[in-house]
């Protein structure tokens, strides 16, 4: 039995070069489906990892109650001071709370050569901000000076948008800001411009802060901060870990892209199934006489069915691999940007992950099975005599 399956399958595979055009239809069809599927989800995966790696589990983010995003939040100076004193916050060697109150505003930058501008996050930070983000380092230039209108820019912004390179001047609210440094962090912060918090507050006419980041003293720190702040009538805030905050921000985007990928893949998969059916029917037709001969000399129906299914599967898998490869070569690490939850651009890279490729290949296999199954049955069912005579 296995012997029969093997020999018929090999026979079929060896004759593929004679039916190259038709066989390529399955390969290309499946390559298209898998490439589109993988590329779309690689975009969602890249967005997610960029935002989520920005968030730490040992840092708490405090926003005004119900704000959802830093942009919408507002915390007064007094409240900021109260929040930093909460129990559960880690202290630096000098006994000061390890915390950074930050102000988030938006500036517009142009895309290179573009006519429309894009929203970019401007973050005013306190010195402790850098201790809370050890992944961040200056890769060119220097740190901004305290009290000066100077900016350091994330390398994502610096590369993707015009006017924010080292030494250039960004104009905001009637004043000029010099870019004195470029920083890298490998996450969402690379999409931001950073400045001294006091200068940002005065320039943007903000009395308070947008958010406060707190280093948590230990694993119970979050609970302690939450308890302390919810018991205090002077503040009304939401407290979560920075990680939870950034994960929450990716939800909408992931859902949108997930739905898009689902619909597009489903429709394309239908098209590919029709194409695969077409190809395999044609293959069975061309080989009708050969198959009938095999049956006449004693081969059973099942090996014929299995071998045709196998042929379809192998072609589909080849297409799937090709598609995944195409997605990887064309899209992996491609840098793009889109609107994040803060209403500003988030620069991220496509991430073609092994699990995405695996899922793509599963889709290819399923389509290959469906595409091979009906034609295989037809091949096995056709009366031997009629097939021999017809050809």
């Amino acid at each position: 039995m296995l012997q029969q399956i093997l020999s018929i399958t090999l026979l079929g595979l060896r004759s593929i070069p004679e039916r190259l055009g038709a066989s390529l239809v399955i390969v290309v069809g499946l390559a298209g489906v898998v490439a589109v599927f993988t590329a779309l989800l690689a975009m969602a995966a890249g967005f997610r990892s960029t935002l989520e790696s920005a968030g730490r589990t040992d840092v708490a983010l405090v926003l005004r109650g119900g704000s959802q995003a830093e942009l919408n939040s507002g915390i007064s100076r007094e409240q900021g001071a109260i929040i930093k004193q909460a129990a559960g916050v880690a202290k630096d060697p000098d006994g000061q709370a390890l915390a950074s109150a930050e102000v988030v505003v938006i500036a517009e930058l142009m895309r290179p050569g573009g006519k429309t501008s894009s929203n970019i996050t401007v973050r005013g930070v306190e010195p402790a901000a850098f201790a809370l983000r050890p992944q961040l380092r200056i890769v060119a230039g220097r740190m901004f000076g305290q009290g000066l209108r100077e900016l350091i820019v994330g390398q994502g912004v610096s590369r993707q948008f015009a006017g924010a390179r080292l030494g250039q001047v960004v104009r905001m609210r009637g004043s000029d800001w010099t870019v004195v440094g470029v920083f890298a962090s490998g996450d969402a912060y690379e999409s931001e411009l950073w400045a001294d918090v006091d200068v940002a507050q005065s320039t943007f006419n903000r009395q308070g802060y947008s958010s406060v980041r707190l280093a948590l003293a230990d694993s119970g720190g979050l609970r302690a901060v939450k308890d302390a702040l919810s018991a205090d009538p002077r503040v009304n805030v939401d407290v979560e870990t920075e990680k939870q905050y950034f994960s929450g921000q990716t939800e909408q985007f992931r859902r949108t892209i997930g739905a898009l990928a689902g619909v597009v893949t489903l429709i394309m998969a239908l098209g590919a199934i029709f194409a695969a059916l077409n190809t395999m029917y044609a293959a069975v037709d061309t080989r009708a006489r050969e198959i009938a001969t095999l049956r006449a000399v004693g081969f059973r129906g099942l090996p014929v069915v299995v071998s045709i299914m196998l042929e379809s599967l192998i072609l589909a898998l080849a297409g799937g691999l090709l598609g995944a490869l195409a997605a990887y070569v064309l899209f992996n690490n491609m840098v793009v940007s889109t609107l994040g939850a803060n209403f500003t651009q988030v620069v991220f890279r496509f991430a073609v992950t092994p699990s995405l490729v695996a899922n793509g290949l599963i889709i290819a296999v399923v389509i290959g099975m469906i595409g091979g199954c009906l034609p295989a049955l037809r091949a096995a069912r056709q009366p031997v005599t009629a097939a021999l005579r017809a050809a």
Partner: protein
């Protein structure tokens, strides 16, 4: 048998193949229709809005509120007919649904947006009720809101004096659009600015952005330049552009997704080209002796070429039109399902581009086999060479 009948009969000789090919074309054009509609959304913006309105925002970003004190200065610019302002409310309904709600002055809204159609009594109620709001027809239908209802809307930005972010407004009017395009865009809610301004915790006098109705759309550029020049070098530098450009800028912010959509379109089309092209080439190959007989009977090269090309075109046209026809109601369904946030309109433009795609596809897949059929020499073909 007529020639048309002959083409159809040829298509029907291998039913399974024709049906399957047709179905792949249908799915491809279904996808094409939807993606093209998304593409139009990203590239052209809403044409119907026109250029007779300007939007003035803070130059640094439209999220930075402009102060109310700019109003008289903007109003004094020659060519400006009416001015209104709107403050983004950051509306959140029920669990976590973000809606577009803006606070504005009712009388000014009516002057600046004559495209909004609403009974006189409702306009008056909007002005005279302190805690009033009006919403577009689409929005009202989506959440089943009725006039006279008190609607709880939270803001993710503005707390009231008591610190609560849960606001309640009286729904006093539901507006329609003056035509189909405007009707599609009735998913915005407007709340009474006077109440909002006095009840919010951050104090008064923050206008947000300004919308300006011009006496003459031709003056847009000049008026925009005058306004921006007035506030140059102040902390409240402005950026003024036509409402259409403002909206396009808004959509463009979504960024490179438009590019991705184009990549998908390309992948779909390339795949389709191969599938259909191969099928047609194969069907011609199988019929070479028949085509030779046609020629023996006296059909000319051009006629045989025409038969094959017509077959390809018929297949593409049937499949393509069916696909677009399915995409059209599906687009409406998606628009409804997303509450107008993703307005996919498979409209005339999309059909036109679809039509062009059908023609190009027919030529691409039909031309080579047709030329081959036209060039056949009878003797070789009949001899199977």
């Amino acid at each position: 048998m007529t020639r048309t009948g002959f083409v159809i009969a040829n298509l029907w000789r291998k039913k399974t193949r024709t049906v399957l090919t047709l179905l792949s074309i249908v799915t491809a054009f279904l996808l094409f229709g939807l993606l093209q509609a998304v593409n139009v959304l990203f590239t052209s913006g809403a044409d119907f809005i026109g250029a007779a309105r300007l939007v003035t925002q803070a130059r640094v970003s439209f999220t930075q509120s402009l102060p109310m004190r700019l109003l008289p200065q903007i109003e004094s610019v020659p060519g400006v007919e009416h001015v209104m302002w709107q403050q983004w409310f950051g509306a959140v309904y029920q669990e976590n649904t973000q809606l577009i709600f803006l606070a504005t002055d009712p009388a000014r809204l009516r002057l600046v947006y004559p495209e909004y159609i609403m009974p006189d009594a409702q306009w008056q109620a909007f002005e005279s009720t302190r805690t009033s709001m009006i919403v577009g027809r689409n929005l009202a239908n989506q959440y089943g809101w009725e006039i006279g209802q008190k609607v709880p809307i939270a803001s993710n930005i503005f707390p009231q004096q008591d610190g609560s972010k849960n606001w309640t407004f009286d729904l006093v009017g539901i507006y329609d659009g003056k035509d189909e395009d405007w009707q599609r865009n009735t998913n915005v809610g407007w709340i009474n600015f006077a109440y909002f301004d006095e009840a919010n915790q951050f104090g008064r006098g923050r206008a947000g952005t300004y919308t300006i109705k011009l006496a003459d759309a031709g003056q847009a550029e000049q008026v925009a330049r005058t306004i921006d020049a007035m506030f140059e070098n102040s902390p409240d530098e402005t950026k003024t552009q036509t409402e259409k450009d403002f909206n396009i800028g808004f959509i463009k912010q979504i960024g490179d997704i438009g590019l991705i959509v184009r990549w998908i379109l390309f992948a779909v089309f390339f795949t389709l080209l191969l599938v259909v092209g191969n099928t047609i080439a194969q069907s011609v190959r199988e019929r070479i002796p028949e085509l030779a007989i046609l020629k023996t009977l006296g059909f000319r090269d051009g006629e045989v070429l025409g038969f094959v090309l017509a077959e390809a075109a018929l297949l593409c046209a049937l499949g393509g039109l069916a696909g677009l026809a399915i995409a059209t109601p599906l687009g409406v369904a998606i628009t409804r399902a997303t509450g107008g946030n993703l307005p996919i309109a498979v409209d005339g433009t999309v059909w036109l581009v679809g039509g062009i795609a059908i023609v190009l596809l027919s030529l691409a897949v039909g031309l080579l086999p047709a030329l081959r059929a036209g060039r056949l020499t009878i003797v070789d073909a009949l001899a199977g060479r």
